[in-house]
């Protein structure tokens, strides 16, 4: 199976471009979903998904097969999302200076550029995504990261620790805090503990 270390009998490190197509086909949905949950912007998630596979291809020689291929890809995606937030923080003042409406930005962010689904489907998806994102974006970045990997990707605590490069205890703390905060938000309480 491609999810493990080998690709059609040869190690991933030696995978040619044509072989990598299969890896993309198998994992692109998962990576996209994870990045969408992290950044909340379908267009940005699309770009980051592409970037994730480009980085994976460029550094395929570093993949030693100690973890599953999917775990390795998720780790690259997690780092990409972290880079994005780091850059976003750095651009904070730039955006403050800008006067155009943030409403327009958020509408653009939730626009789903899928030409294969009907307009009704797109509206429904946008609504769903908007509601979920509103909740998730209120969590701190590590809490959101851990929650998405646990709830959406159904990863074990050990796998999350591997992907996020954190200790098991820290992962547990982030997950439990995320769940508690989420519950409070759903109940309408706004006292969210966003400590990292």
């Amino acid at each position: 199976m491609l999810d493990v270390m080998e690709l059609a009998g040869q190690p991933v490190a030696a995978a040619a471009l044509e072989d990598f197509d299969e890896i993309v086909r198998l994992h692109q949905q998962r990576i996209y979903r994870l990045l969408l949950g992290q950044v909340g912007d379908p267009t940005l998630a699309e770009d980051l998904t592409q970037e994730c596979f480009v980085r994976a291809y460029q550094s395929r020689a570093q993949f030693r097969g100690e973890a599953q291929l999917s775990t390795w890809l998720v780790r690259i995606a997690v780092n990409l999302a972290r880079d994005y937030y780091r850059n976003r923080r750095m651009n904070f003042w730039k955006r403050l200076v800008r006067t155009d409406s943030s409403e327009e930005d958020s509408q653009r962010a939730l626009a789903i550029p899928d030409h294969g689904s009907s307009p009704e489907q797109q509206v429904l998806q946008r609504e769903k995504l908007g509601q979920v994102m509103e909740l998730i974006q209120q969590l701190s970045q590590p809490q959101r990261e851990t929650l998405l990997l646990s709830v959406m990707e159904e990863m074990s605590l050990k796998e999350i620790a591997q992907c996020t490069n954190r200790r098991l205890g820290t992962v547990k703390t982030h997950l439990y805090r995320a769940l508690i905060n989420l519950r409070r938000l759903q109940e309408g309480k706004n006292d969210v503990d966003s400590s990292e």
């Binding site: 993309v24 949950g37 998806q125």
Partner: protein, 180 residues
């Protein structure tokens, strides 16, 4: 059996699928906590399905996304290849240029007479030095030799040529002295 209700932390642990310490025993007897835990689980389930639904795309989308990724990978590979070729070309040009400069400097050196040193063997060199040591005194130094030999009384020890020369000189001196 626990008398107090479960804490938020314990609910979070149970909702995440990890056993809260002593919580399971309490859940068997407390209906309120069971209902609350079910609500936690339902919320999580809803969140998951909403996220999955929000991230759902058509096959056309995934296909075009895959193509875009492969195009980028292809472009990255080509750029790397071009970079590699460019590097090698530059190295070759630099090598050729340095060879040309060296050849030119060598040519200039030969023109200015700065060539390689003549090949002289050690034996020949030794022979030359020996010959120079053994060669006769020049004519200008003969009177000095005579004076030295007279003073030291070692005229007999002079070699044949010096004796002959000395006698010639003495004859000249006598001839000069006779008219007096």
């Amino acid at each position: 059996m626990m008398l107090t209700h479960l804490s938020e932390e314990q609910f979070a642990q149970l909702a995440a699928g990890h056993g809260g310490d002593g919580a399971t025993g309490h859940l068997e007897t407390c209906l309120e906590c069971r209902e609350r835990l079910q609500a936690w689980r339902n919320d999580l389930h809803r969140l998951r399905s909403d996220l999955l639904q929000g991230a759902e795309r058509s096959d056309i989308y995934w296909h075009s996304q895959r193509n875009a990724i492969m195009r980028r990978l292809d472009a990255t590979g080509s750029a790397k290849h071009i970079g590699w070729n460019l590097g090698w070309s530059l190295a070759c040009y630099a090598l050729a240029l340095s060879l040309l400069v060296l050849a030119f400097l060598n040519f200039q050196g030969a023109r200015n007479g700065i060539g390689p040193a003549p090949d002289v063997s050690d034996a020949k060199l030794l022979q030359e030095v020996e010959d120079r040591i053994n060669e006769d005194h020049p004519d200008a130094l003969v009177p000095t030799d005579l004076l030295v030999s007279e003073m030291s009384g070692q005229s007999a020890e002079l070699n044949g040529q010096n004796i002959q020369q000395a006698s010639v000189q003495q004859a000249k001196v006598k001839r000069v002295r006779k008219p007096r």
